[in-house]
C-alpha cells in the first residue's frame, strides 16, 4: 500500500552527497528515486533504493542519521494535467501535501507520483475510491 522512503540528514557542504551516494554505490545498491531539498545550513535527502533495507543498514553503519518514511505512490498517465488531477483530489478533501515528487521511467507511458501527506490512511481511501492506481514498493 505504501512506498518506503529513506530520509538522510545532510549538512549543506561540498562532498556530503558524494559520500552518501558512494556509500550505496560501492555496495551495488541502485537508486530508484532521489530528491533533495535544502535550507541554508542543512538538507534532507529523500530517496528510494532498490533494496531499501540494505541501504538503511549501510548508511547506519557509515554513521548517517537515517529514517524511514512511508509515502503514497500513484501512477498516472504521462500526459498534461494528470498531476493536477491528483493534487485537486487532495485539495478538495482538505488534505495537506507536505511534499511531493514525480518521475517517469523510460519505456513507460505512465508517470509515478510520490507524496507525503498528513493523514495517509484517509488519502489512500480517497484515491482508491476515485480509481487511481496506487503503487507498492514492488511496482517501482
Amino acid at each position: 500500500m505504501f512506498v518506503k522512503q529513506l530520509s538522510v540528514f545532510m549538512e549543506n557542504r561540498p562532498g556530503r552527497l558524494y559520500k552518501l551516494t558512494h556509500a550505496l554505490g560501492k555496495e551495488g545498491i541502485d537508486f530508484v528515486t532521489l530528491s533533495i531539498a535544502d535550507t541554508k545550513d542543512f538538507g534532507i535527502v529523500r530517496f528510494i533504493a532498490r533494496d531499501n533495507e540494505r541501504a538503511y543498514e549501510v548508511l547506519k553503519r557509515e554513521g548517517f542519521t537515517v529514517g524511514i518514511t512511508e509515502l503514497i505512490g500513484v501512477e498516472v498517465e504521462d500526459k498534461p494535467n494528470a498531476l493536477a488531477e491528483v493534487v485537486a483530489l487532495m485539495e478538495e478533501a482538505n488534505m495537506n501535501i507536505e511534499y511531493l515528487y514525480s518521475f517517469v521511467l523510460t519505456n513507460h507511458n505512465t508517470a509515478k507520483i510520490l507524496m507525503r501527506v498528513e493523514d495517509a490512511e484517509r488519502a489512500v481511501e480517497l484515491l482508491q475510491v476515485k480509481g487511481i492506481k496506487l503503487l507498492s514498493e514492488q511496482i517501482l
Partner: protein, 432 residues
C-alpha cells in the same frame, strides 16, 4: 570494601584541622628552606614560616600561579636533589612550555593512595577490571590512575589512548568492569560500541572520569547509553595530577583528600577567602609533597566547598563539580559565558548527539557565537518543520541560560572531531 583509608576518610573535623595545621607548618618551612622562589617571596613581604600559627595564617602566603611554574621550568621548584626524584610528569602544554612535576618515592605512594581512595568511593573493589583509556606518558592521568588501581589490588588494563574500535573489542573481550577515561572519550567509546553492535556485550559497571569537567546531563547520558555508574574525579598536574578529589556513590560533590591537600576558595579580584558554599576560584596547598611542594596554587577552577559530613560516611570536605575555569570563561558581547552552561542545555535534549563544538568569532565589532551539534534522532527527518523547530528550541534554551543569542547549527553524526585526550570544545577565532 567501603573506604580505602577509613581512619582518614571518617576523621572528625577537629582532628582533620589539627592534622592540616601540623602539616601546613611543616610544608611551609620545608618550601621556604628548599625552594628559592618561596624564600624570596616570603622574605619580600617579611613573612617567616614560624608566623604560620593557625590555618587562617595561610592567607598571608602569596599565591602560586601557572606562570611561576613556567618561569621555573623545568626543575626550578623542586625541593629535593634529582637523585630523590624517581618520576617526572608534564602537562600537555598547549601554549608555551609545559608544567613539570617531580615525584619522590613517597609522593608516588601517596598519589596511589589518593587514587585508590577515590576509586573505592566510586564503588570499585579489588575484584574490578579497570580499562585505563587515559594516555600513558608525560600526562599524569594514565600512570596516576594505573598505580592507583594497582594499589587497590584490582586488575589494570593499560590500554592508553587511540584506536577506538580496538578499545571496544578489548573492553568486551577482557570483560572490563570499570572504565577510566575523559567524559568525552567515555561517550565516544560507548557510541562506537553501539555502532559496532557490541554495546550489550560490555560488562562495564563503573566509569571513573577525569581530566575534563563534566555536567550532570553528561553523566545521565552516559549512564543511559552504557548502563554504568559514572563518577567524576579531579586533579591537576601542578599539584601532582589526578587524585585531589573524587565523587562517592552519593554524587554530592567530590571528596578532597584533605590530609594531602588543603583547599581554599577565593575571590581573586577582592583577594578574599570565601566561606563554605560560596563560589570562587579553588586554591590548593600540597600538605605532603616532597618533590615539588606548592603553596596556594591558583587552579583557575571555579567551585565551592562544603564541610558537612556526607551521607556516605566520609567527613572529608567536598568541592562541587567545577562549573568553569576562569580561563575558559568567554566574554561574548560583554556577557560572561561558560562552555559548561552550553553543555548543560545540549545534554538535556534527547534528540541531540553528545558531541558539540562552540565557535566564537567577531564580525565587524560584533562577537558571534555558534554552537554546532550533531543530529542523532532519525525521527526528526520526516519534515523540515521538526528540524527547524529543534533549532528554535535550542536557541531559546540557550537564550534563557546565557542571556545572549547564539547561532545554532545542526551537523551530521560523527562530523565533529573526537578527542582521545582532553577535548577542545571551544574555538575562539577573535583577534584580540
Amino acid at each position: 570494601m567501603m573506604m580505602f583509608s577509613p581512619e582518614i576518610e571518617t576523621m572528625g573535623r577537629k582532628q582533620i584541622r589539627e592534622m592540616q595545621l601540623e602539616r601546613l607548618k611543616h610544608i611551609v618551612a620545608y618550601a621556604y628552606e628548599r625552594v628559592p622562589m618561596y624564600k624570596q617571596r616570603f622574605d619580600a613581604i617579611g613573612l617567616r614560616p614560624e608566623h604560620i600559627k593557625t590555618l587562617k595564617d595561610i592567607e598571608n602566603i602569596p599565591y602560586t600561579t601557572k606562570d611561576d611554574l613556567r618561569d621555573h621550568y623545568p626543575f626550578g621548584l623542586f625541593a629535593v636533589p634529582m637523585k630523590q626524584i624517581i618520576r617526572l610528569h608534564a602537562s600537555s602544554g598547549t601554549t608555551g612550555k609545559p608544567i613539570v612535576g617531580g615525584y619522590t618515592r613517597k609522593d608516588l605512594d601517596n598519589w596511589s593512595t589518593c587514587i585508590a581512595r577515590l576509586l573505592v568511593a566510586a564503588g570499585a573493589t579489588d575484584e574490578d577490571i579497570f580499562h585505563v583509556a587515559f594516555g600513558y606518558g608525560l600526562f599524569t592521568g594514565g600512570f596516576g590512575l594505573h598505580y592507583g588501581v594497582e594499589k587497590l589490588g584490582a586488575t589494570v588494563v593499560p590500554v592508553s589512548s587511540g584506536n577506538t574500535e580496538r578499545q571496544v573489542m578489548l573492553l568486551r573481550d577482557f570483560g572490563a568492569t570499570a572504565l577510566i577515561a575523559t567524559p568525552s572519550y567515555a561517550m565516544y567509546l560507548a557510541e562506537t560500541a553501539k555502532k559496532m553492535g557490541v554495546l550489550e556485550d560490555l560488562k562495564v559497571r563503573l566509569v571513573c572520569m577525569g581530566a575534563e569537567a563534566s555536567t550532570a546531563e553528561t553523566h545521565e547520558a552516559l549512564q543511559g547509553l552504557l548502563g554504568a555508574f559514572p563518577t567524576e574525579n579531579y586533579g591537576l598536574t601542578e599539584v601532582g595530577g589526578p587524585g585531589v578529589s573524587g565523587e562517592c556513590r552519593e554524587k554530592a560533590g567530590m571528596h578532597i583528600n584533605e590530609d594531602m591537600f588543603y583547599p581554599e576558595v577565593v575571590n581573586i579580584e577582592k583577594n578574599k577567602v570565601l566561606s563554605e558554599g560560596e563560589q570562587g576560584e579553588l586554591l590548593i596547598t600540597t600538605l605532603t609533597k616532597e618533590g615539588m611542594p606548592i603553596l596556594r596554587y591558583r587552579t583557575k577552577d571555579i567551585t565551592s566547598l562544603t564541610y558537612e559530613p556526607c551521607k556516605c560516611g566520609r567527613t572529608l570536605a567536598r568541592m562541587s563539580r567545577v562549573v568553569g575555569r576562569t580561563d575558559d570563561m568567554l566574554i561574548i558581547r560583554g556577557v560572561n559565558v561558560f562552555p559548561s552552561q552550553i553543555e548543560g542545555v545540549l545534554m538535556g535534549m534527547k534528540e541531540l548527539g553528545k558531541t558539540y563544538e562552540i565557535v566564537v568569532d567577531r564580525v565587524g565589532y560584533m562577537d558571534t557565537i555558534e554552537v554546532r551539534v550533531e543530529v542523532d534522532d532519525a525521527g526528526l527527518l520526516t519534515d523540515y518543520g521538526k528540524l527547524e523547530e529543534l533549532v528554535a528550541r535550542i536557541k531559546h534554551a540557550l537564550r534563557v541560560v546565557l542571556q545572549i543569542d547564539v547561532k545554532v547549527k545542526l551537523v551530521e553524526p560523527f562530523s565533529i572531531k573526537r578527542a582521545e585526550g582532553k577535548v577542545k570544545r571551544v574555538t575562539d577565532l577573535r583577534k584580540h
